[in-house]
Symmetry: C2
Subunit: 414 residues, 2 copies
């Protein structure tokens, strides 16, 4: 079956899914979770094949690690599906309805987007997470996973489709496009009459490819170059834990800190101690000249260190003249992901909130909080750093849209 045929089937399924009750969708999610647990052995066996092939092909241990579904991981997948079942259903919810002068009652009601294509790389848990979130929000999904996880993904999709069939929902609600040479991605993301949204998840190369070839709308997240600005009034007892947590809690993720900015009057008071603590955690410091005067052990930062996404225990440090200089640095080097300030001055906090253009703007907290789970979304489909439709962590609501509804008693327009 070619890509267009799969998309046609999935689109037909989307029309049916759009009008299912929460109870029916949750029952299907429950069946999927049970299926995953019941067929854990075949999932793990397919995954063993994928992992063996990946090792033979010489994939890095980090990539192989992302691929592995063993131990508690299948149970965790099933648990995540049940968690999604427990979340509120966004479809059909109505915002405030206003009574107009002519008596019309007008407002908005949520509806699914339709057919969503997810293009991703090795991690097979995306297969199940994405299917659960799209199903709950009344959308059909076309999954195009990576070659490395092809066997695992095939088994996971098969289990989910059978569970849907058992609950009298269309199996094509969860559809799969076998990975080839990327031409199938071009075809998939060109189906403007069938695919309502494409979400690429993975490395920058894949995301740029999808953006370049897509004719359908794309929501994406390139990278996270996150800053923390320590304002003149910042106190060490808050600045130190915010910096440490943002940098060393999980250096390899997109909301980790990559660059510390410090007000020049606060720097002598804050930087030496913060640098000591970071060094003790094994963080390599790359600092501007003014910062190195206070932290002689730091390396000299090069031009490339500002704006870099290290995803590692490396931190760029820059001393700045004032809030304006910090805002300018973030505008120039930031990636619209997460930008934090540590300050005691209310007007500076408000300026930061107003002027920084990022999916999440933070005052006096760690950059690590830019995450769907942490922000109360229950689950997340990814973090958008583009402003159209969704900006920041995307939960179930981001997988829906709103239509206008008008309730009248025979009104005509004059």
């Amino acid at each position: 079956m070619n890509v267009r045929q799969r998309a046609l089937e999935a689109k037909a399924a989307a029309r049916i899914l759009a009008r299912q009750s929460r109870a029916r969708k949750d029952a299907a999610l429950d069946a999927i979770a049970r299926g995953l647990l019941a067929e854990r052995a075949s999932i793990e066996s397919a995954n063993d094949d994928d992992v063996r092939r990946a090792r033979q092909a010489g994939l890095s241990s980090a990539l192989v690690e992302r691929l592995v579904l063993s131990g508690d991981r299948v149970a965790a997948l099933a648990q995540a599906v049940l968690h999604v079942a427990g979340l509120p259903d966004p479809v059909g919810s109505r915002g405030p309805m206003q009574r107009l002068q002519n008596g019309l009652l007008v407002g908005k009601q949520r509806l699914p987007l339709g057919l969503i294509a997810i293009v991703y790389e090795s991690r097979p848990n995306v297969t199940v997470d994405a299917a659960a979130l799209t199903l709950k929000s009344g959308n059909a999904v076309l999954l195009r996973g990576g070659k490395e996880a092809a066997s695992t993904n095939a088994v996971l999709v098969d289990i989910m489709r059978r569970a849907l069939g058992d609950r009298d929902l269309p199996e094509a609600s969860v559809s799969f496009v076998p990975p080839g040479d990327r031409e199938e991605i071009r075809e998939l993301c060109g189906l403007t009459d069938l695919v309502d949204l494409a979400i690429p998840r993975g490395g920058e190369g894949l995301i740029r490819f999808v953006t370049e070839v897509a004719r359908v709308p794309v929501i994406k997240h390139y990278k996270g170059v996150c800053h923390l600005y320590l304002d003149e009034s910042a106190e060490l007892e808050m600045a130190l834990p915010l910096t440490l947590n943002a940098k060393v809690h999980r250096p390899g993720v997109c909301n980790a800190l990559e660059c510390l900015l410090v007000h020049h009057l606060a720097a002598p008071r804050l930087l030496p101690e913060i640098a000591r603590a970071l060094s003790a955690e094994g963080v390599e410091l790359r600092a501007c000249e003014r910062a190195r005067a206070l932290v002689p052990t730091a390396h000299a930062a090069t031009a490339e260190d500002f704006g870099a996404e290290f995803l590692d225990k490396i931190l760029a440090i820059r001393v700045v003249d004032d809030l304006d200089a910090a805002l300018l640095h973030v505008e120039r080097y930031g990636s619209n992901h997460t930008e934090a300030i540590c300050t005691n001055q209310h007007d500076h906090a408000e300026r930061w909130l107003a002027e920084v253009d990022a999916s999440c703007v933070v005052v006096n907290a760690s950059t690590r909080f830019n995450d769907g789970g942490e922000l109360g979304l229950g689950a997340e489909m990814g973090i958008s750093t583009s402003k159209l439709h969704a900006y920041g962590p995307m939960g179930l609501e981001s997988l829906t849209s709103e239509k206008w509804i008008v309730l009248g008693q025979g009104q005509v327009r004059s």
Copy 2:
């Protein structure tokens, strides 16, 4: 200056506009309105040139009529700008903020999109309307108007830029791309690093061209094939005025009625009288066989009449078996624009609201209400029939996005 240079200047202006207060933006709008009134003579003179050239080029009288800016039309343009100044500023507004268990206060705050490209055809009022709406919402705009209105648009843009300069706002906030052979549209809509959104307005050909060549996000509206379904319980005293208003009030607009669906049990009671009233208004009826049995004067509908956007005093009529058949017809032939039901049955109204996928779903009112002004938006940038970001009439809010904001007291993630 080439397209990219203009976009670079406009993008720099967008960064400045994003942090302007409502008072400063409103003052600039006020200056624009005054400028338009003060320079009415030069606007009309340039417009005369455009109109003369259009007549010489043999444009249809309907197209020439769209081009004309004379009589009260300049004053109306200025009035529309002042009206936008009076609307609330969406930028900086915050939705509900939630206190999480760890004490973080999280929510969303509105911000401008950035740089918006508007690609449109002959009507020069779009030049001023679009500039006013984008300015009010803190965005810069790149206007690519039609060749026919080139002289008028040049004068309008010049007046607006001088008004911005007088109020110390960047003139490049309102920028213009001279119309050429459409290659400049391709270039403009390919500037993924500068243009945040493209909105095409005009005929289906232009909109399809923009969608095809764009690499930046596009919000569009192809056409309006609007239906009204008269349910079994519909009463003539409501069904008749709803049908007449939707069809004859302004047949040439996108929210006008194009196809009437009637429940077969209600048809004998409703159709003859509705058909008489429509015929008296000069409406040509194209009906299915079951409808023609009740309305012998109607022409036989061909397959092409269902799904057609007549934009004229022509109406397709079809008798259907029940609500399910009506829903199926709308799903197959509708254009996701406006779909109305006339019913007395609550469960049928609710099914219509839940199951119809259209930018505006109407119960017991005219389809003509799908309009930003009528729905209380104050002003509209167009009607989106695609679901991403905006669905239905786009007001000021649709020209903004929401970023997450997090207010803490030193919280770190564990």
